[in-house]
Amino acid sequence: MEFKPSEMMTVAAARPLNNDDVCFVGIGAPSAACNLARLTHAPDITLIYESGTIGTRPDVLPLSIGDGELCDTALMTVPVPEMFRYWLQGGRITLGFLGGAQIDRFANLNTTVVGPYDAPKVRLPGGGGAPEIASNCGQIFITMALSPRGFVDRLDFITSMGHGEGGDHRQRLGLKTKGPTKVITDKCILEPDPETKELTVVSIHPGVTRDEITEACGWPIRFGSAVVETPAPTAEELATLRDLQDRTRRAHAA
């Protein structure tokens, strides 16, 4: 079955999620992946959006973090201060799923500015919930397309910390959570090296070459010692994803 790289990315991002996860969902690509997981192999996953909706089961993907669909289908909806204080800071979230504009080799993310902070070339939306999602969730998955503009050698701004300068930087700052454990792109899957924490290719999507990955990354990307091929999307995964996206398109055009 033919599939697009963006579909492979969403499918690969959905697969590692499971029924026991309590997942803090970022808008956009993470939201698509989390809901695909819920509609395929992880029907009991708990999805939480920062607008306060807990245990939500949207029929269409939300355009914003607080679409009515999220509240209508949630187990409960709590005020935003409670969301960040009791649920996120309280340590109840096992997994945070983030996107970003830019990422570096230690999975630090920038969604704040390109260029100097005081005189930015591009002013991006900012961090929103990300700085504390990155530190308070048990672990972090990140999904974004692999491109030289997105995967950069040096970030102008660290909006949310991944592994900082690498190695044991998180522990040195007193963090007890794991930080980013997977970065799922449209070409491959990356995981931090156990020692250095540098992102390393562990799985390559079907039809993608190592050269294509190297060219699309802004730093000299490393490949792990046992790189595997990502299984292609199944017919069920693709059909479920396309149905979801079709429903979403129709709903947002109305």
Binding site: S51, G52, G68, L70, V80, T112, G127, E132, S135, L173
Partner: protein, 287 residues
């Protein structure tokens, strides 16, 4: 006691040049009609607070009402940039905009601290994040019991908070339902508050004993503006107009297109223009 009045009077009496103003709503119940009235009345030199400044703050910034923005995420959700915000930050149009940037956790905690009449909020945040390097209002305190270092930010205490809600009753109590965001905290943290509502009812009837209600003695003024949260939404009344958020992008990209749109759709209209978006939940109760 809250005064039931017109939107124009409520804004004229409660929002002044130079005020610190919060217009809250976490993608839901955004007080768009109230914000437009602020623009129509030509308020200047405002300091605006909001966790998620979106189209409404893009409009206020582009119309030159705002000197300073205190925020944690400034974008058009699911669509992209706020072009008027970017033009102000990147090119100083229509004038320089000072920004004070936080994370959501910080803003939510700061509203909570404001409502609790505390001078600051402490929370576990900003670890390894660069915002702490560029925002002098992000500081740290040491827990007197454990010695843990925690982030600290000043409480938010607006001069006036504007929100939109589903209902007020004849006594001026206000009911919010759905994604309630940070509005209760923002009202209780403020000196004054203006609430627009979908409808004014005799009494709320059968609501949960745990419903989010702002008693009349916590609210300064109430104006019935059906549809007043459009293009955001009012749970139980009308849905988020996602197509409108997408349509805003090309309007806001260009200064002249933006100004022409604002003239036609804000400056030359009134709050009654929002009524077309309202669908009262119960026939016969529309205000």
């Amino acid at each position: 006691m809250a005064r039931l009045t017109s939107l124009s009077e409520a804004i004229a009496e409660n929002v002044h040049d130079g005020d610190r103003v919060a217009m809250e709503g976490f993608t839901h119940l955004i007080p768009c009609a109230a914000g437009h009235e602020v623009i129509r009345q030509g308020r200047k030199h405002l300091t605006l607070y909001r966790m998620t400044p979106d189209i409404l703050y893009d409009q206020l910034i582009g119309m030159g009402c705002v000197d300073k923005l205190i925020f944690s995420w400034g974008g058009n959700p699911g669509v992209g940039s706020l072009h008027r915000l970017r033009d102000a930050v990147e090119r100083g149009w229509p004038h320089t905009l000072e920004i004070e940037e936080h994370s959501h956790a910080a803003m939510a905690n700061a509203y909570d601290a404001g409502a609790a009449n505390l001078p600051f909020a402490a929370f576990r945040g900003y670890i390894g994040a660069d915002l702490a390097k560029v925002n002098p209002n992000i500081r740290h305190v040491t827990c007197p019991f454990t010695g843990e270092t925690l982030a600290a930010v000043p409480a938010i205490r607006p001069d006036v908070t504007l929100i939109h809600a589903q209902k007020a009753d004849r006594e001026g109590n206000v009911l919010l339902e759905g994604i309630v965001g940070v509005q209760k905290e923002a009202v209780l943290a403020a000196t004054r508050s203006v609430v627009t509502v979908e409808e004014v009812v005799e009494e709320f009837g059968d609501v949960s004993p745990n419903a989010v209600i702002l008693p009349t003695w916590t609210v300064t003024a109430i104006a019935a503006v059906p549809g007043g949260a459009h293009p955001s939404y009012a749970h139980g009344y009308y849905k988020r107009d996602n197509a409108y958020y997408k349509a805003w992008d090309p309007i806001a990209r260009d200064r002249d297109t933006f100004l022409a749109w604002m003239k036609e759709n804000v400056l030359e209209t009134g709050p009654e223009a929002f009524a077309q978006y309202a669908k009262p939940k119960h026939a016969g109760q529309g205000a």
